[in-house]
Symmetry: C2
Subunit: 316 residues, 2 copies
């Protein structure tokens, strides 16, 4: 059965029961009502477009539902907040199989259960390609938000979550005609370390952000916002290990693996800085240091001259 | 200049300064932070797709920006809440003129200033047609939300805002090759009576909703959620006046005008119920009554047999 045969009300009646929707007021009225016990609410939104952010032959509906949730939840965690709920809008071609939408909902539901959140609302529209727009809300539990602008000279640069570059390695495997394996799975189902966002805030992190567009590009955003230099250590330590693991696992040259580590997007790790000597929450690894200087990123003390500097949605 | 020539960062640098963005934390980090003084937050989302929800030859970018804000803000008001901020995502074709996006931002900014809210975040992606996804957040100021399920037998049915059917009349004019006039303007720039949402809550309204899909269809949602019959008065009163005004203004038969009044979407009035004899806030007009019965809508005591029952995004 196709989406246009079932219609809007029929589709909602099939999909909403698949989702966890517990809230002060869940889907079904003009708007939802969520608890915001802190007296503030964290809010972020991301859009995924078929053919640009995902391909139906490379990712199942469930994969897309998972990823749409995960990447928004990572943005909430990157503020040091805990997610309180998602709103999910879909633009759908009329000839799309209803099974794809049900599969999407199943992946979205799986992510909600895994990460501990709910879907409180959304919207449906027709479209000529699948468009998924998710808004995530979160609670700061009384703490100040963790910003990109808080890094200070003398800090250590830290990273938590999946080893960087794995999603890029999976994407490269798909581009080369592959279809499975752990790297492809990392690309399809990112698993951001959400609980480490609030943990970083409690431990006094100076800055934190979600790595969605590649380590160099996103570290550059912290550097620019904070007015400091971030020097990432690729010669030794966790980034070296990540590149070595990737080179072995994917059977690629070290330079290719280093490119994935530094410029591959969509790993959704948490990148931040702490005062040197701070007691880091388990899961954060030191990958660099912060120095005085004019908003730039270095790799082992020099500008990166390898390929790629991350993702621009218009190729600019 | 086209969107793909400017790139994502360039586009954001042009557009964000056009918008009012005051918040505890506005655009630029992983997420925004808004005040939620009530300890709860109202949240709603809507998506507009080019060629389905708007046409570029019929609505300017500024019109689309205005409408995207207005329709989401109407959903917040329909809960009895006051908007605290918007998140706005755009999917844009690479060959779209940057001027369209700037015009969109100008219309969005005009709506924010008119309605008293701000844009706190958003996202950009490429897409093959323009997709606008807006999430609106709001505050209940300590009151319970106004639901669709609160209507009671014996209530009066009330409506506030633009006379119903004007947006449909404007759409009909555009379909017939027209390009201007007050009805077309009503279609392009809906002006929901936002302050009457909280006013209805303070005055003890039993139910309230935003009329986006046509009076009959949306009244049917109140009737179904509340388990009552809503009987709308078309023979006399405000709906009769609305149909007569439309027939005269558009030069159409009474039956056509009545169809617009009852089934035309996108007027974004506020439809609700109050106890009979309640002191209605200025701007609400009585258009019907609520009776015991099984979730249905009548027009002057009988089922509507005219054309159209509102809008389905997949034509189902």
């Amino acid at each position: 059965m196709r989406v246009e045969e079932l219609g809007e009300a029929g589709l909602l009646a099939r999909v909403i029961p698949l989702l966890p929707t517990e809230a002060l007021l869940g889907p079904g009225d003009d708007a939802a009502v969520l608890a915001a016990p802190d007296g503030r609410v964290v809010a972020t939104t991301d859009v995924l477009v078929e053919g640009r952010d995902f391909r139906r032959d490379w990712s199942s509906g469930a994969d897309v539902g998972w990823k749409a949730a995960a990447q928004n939840l990572a943005d909430v965690a990157a503020m040091g907040a805990t997610a309180t709920g998602l709103l999910v809008s879909l633009g759908l071609p009329g000839d799309l199989p209803v099974a794809w939408v049900e599969d999407f909902a199943a992946g979205l539901a799986a992510a909600c259960r895994h990460f501990g959140t709910v879907v409180v609302g959304g919207d449906l529209s027709g479209a000529s390609e699948i468009v998924v727009s998710v808004t995530a809300l979160g609670d700061l539990a009384g703490r100040p938000p963790l910003l990109r602008s808080g890094a200070r000279a003398g800090d250590v640069v830290v990273l938590a979550g999946t080893e960087p570059g794995r999603s890029a390695g999976g994407l490269a495997a798909l581009l080369a005609g592959g279809s499975g394996g752990a790297l492809v799975e990392a690309h399809r189902r990112p698993a951001p370390p959400l609980s480490l966002g609030p943990a970083a805030a409690r431990a006094g992190a100076h800055a934190l952000m979600d790595v969605s567009d590649g380590l160099l590009r996103d570290a550059g955003r912290i550097a620019a916002a904070s007015g400091v230099v971030l020097d990432l250590h690729l010669g030794a330590g966790p980034l070296r290990a990540a590149a070595d693991h990737l080179a072995a696992e994917a059977g690629v040259e070290a330079s290719t693996a280093e490119g994935w580590v530094l410029t591959g997007g969509e790993d959704h790790g948490l990148l931040g800085t702490f005062a040197a000597g701070a007691d880091l929450p388990d899961g954060f690894r030191v990958i660099g240091s912060v120095r005085v200087g004019p908003g730039a990123v270095l790799v082992d003390g020099v500008r990166w001259s390898g390929s790629g500097v991350g993702w621009d949605h218009f190729g600019g």
